[in-house]
């Protein structure tokens, strides 16, 4: 399959794996890239040497291109921004902030720059500052989210910029992929479905929590702090929402979430930890290899796009 995104990233299929904190490490990223998609290592709050090591390990597993997602709120963001130029990764995606100060440095190093955006204005600004593409991420996504849905955001961003758009949020199979292409996207980014991939190192409890999730099982916390997060409902989200309602301070709420994602991903504490996942978790029913996931999506999307709709 060919789109401007597959050409930009030099990949076979326009499917990108989200750069999820703790989840998107070298085995998952390498498996996605090896299967013809584009894998991302999520730098999250990790120190620079840890991320460098992840890049090197991924490179041992695949000779295909992959990238790094840099979470700009991280205290290590600046060092990691520099490090990726030394390690010569194929692309950088960014979240939780504005990557403008780093863009010239990345472009000079030949790295493709793909900021994640949740609004038209930010997409336009990123284009103006030299971004190669943007990920338009709707609020169906897991983790930190904006307010507009993928269905509404993607076509508006696609109309506003000339660079290619990658749709994210609520996409979990070939139907979602075909729909995203119809909305004007030239690739999709998926997180939740790759979390349960065989190559994903998350705790079995985390995978089972997603596999068992229903359509209504995700919840948004942190709306009052200005940093809303979508995760699967559990003891943690209930407690958080109760404290939020009682007017707990930003510091109290932050303290509560400290290390809570790690607790769920690594220790398998899916009751007291944060199980980040998108609204599409209800659609994800089984563990498969990354190659199976990608091939299945392609054949589903392909069949839909080729279907004769008998219009007029």
């Amino acid at each position: 399959m060919k789109t401007r995104v597959t050409e930009l990233l030099n990949i076979k299929y326009p499917i990108i794996q989200g750069g999820m904190a703790w989840v998107a490490e070298h085995s998952l990223a390498a498996a996605v890239s090896q299967a013809g998609g584009f894998g991302l290592i999520g730098a999250a709050n990790a120190p620079v040497e840890v991320v460098r090591e992840e890049i090197r390990k991924a490179r041992e597993l695949t000779d295909q291109p992959f990238g790094v997602n840099i979470m700009l709120l991280s205290p290590h963001a600046k060092d990691i921004a520099q490090m990726v130029t030394e390690e010569n990764v194929a692309a950088v995606t960014t979240g939780a902030g504005n990557p403008e100060p780093y863009i010239p440095m990345w472009k000079e190093a030949g790295i493709r720059v793909i900021p994640v955006v949740a609004s038209v204005a930010l997409a336009k600004r990123m284009e103006k500052h030299g971004a190669d593409a943007v990920v338009a991420e709707g609020c169906e996504s897991g983790g930190h989210i904006g307010q507009t849905t993928t269905m509404a955001l993607v076509p508006q961003v696609a109309d506003a910029v000339r660079i290619p758009v990658i749709a994210a949020g609520g996409i979990g199979d070939g139907r979602g992929m075909a729909a995203a292409l119809m909305l004007g996207a030239e690739a999709v980014q998926m997180g939740t479905r790759f979390v349960v991939a065989e190559e994903s190192i998350v705790h079995e409890n985390y995978k089972q929590k997603i596999i068992k999730a229903r359509d209504i099982d995700s919840e948004v916390t942190g709306l009052t702090t200005g940093h809303p997060v979508r995760s699967l409902r559990n003891q943690m989200t209930r407690e958080y929402l109760r404290m939020e309602q009682e007017g707990a301070s930003f510091e109290e709420l932050e303290y509560m979430t400290l290390g809570s994602l790690r607790k769920a991903v690594m220790d398998g504490d899916v009751k007291g930890g944060t199980v980040m996942a998108g609204q599409i978790a209800g659609l994800v029913k089984k563990e498969q290899t990354c190659a199976e996931i990608i091939q299945e999506m392609l054949s589903e999307a392909g069949a839909l796009l080729k279907k004769d709709w008998n219009i007029g």
Partner: protein
């Protein structure tokens, strides 16, 4: 300048012009989040034909600070 600023801010942040003075804080008084502020900055860049780099955004917290900032950039 304040007159035009109020117009731009009112339009971008969907607030009443009467709510806007030099001491108005975008975040605290008008409830603007980071996406709102980007809308505003893009509108300011267009209206005043200036470039506002990302590293300057954090200091632009109130209407008065934006006005000082623009004046320093030569906006009348």
């Amino acid at each position: 300048m304040l007159e035009k600023m109020r117009e731009i801010i009112a339009e971008q942040l969907n607030v009443d012009e009467a709510e806007i003075s030099e001491v108005t804080s975008f975040k605290e008084d008008l409830g603007a989040d980071s996406l709102d502020l980007f809308e505003l900055v893009m509108a300011l860049e267009e209206n005043y034909e200036v470039e506002i780099p990302a590293e300057d955004l954090t200091e632009l917290t109130t209407v008065g600070k934006v006005m000082d900032y623009l004046k320093a950039k030569g906006v009348e």
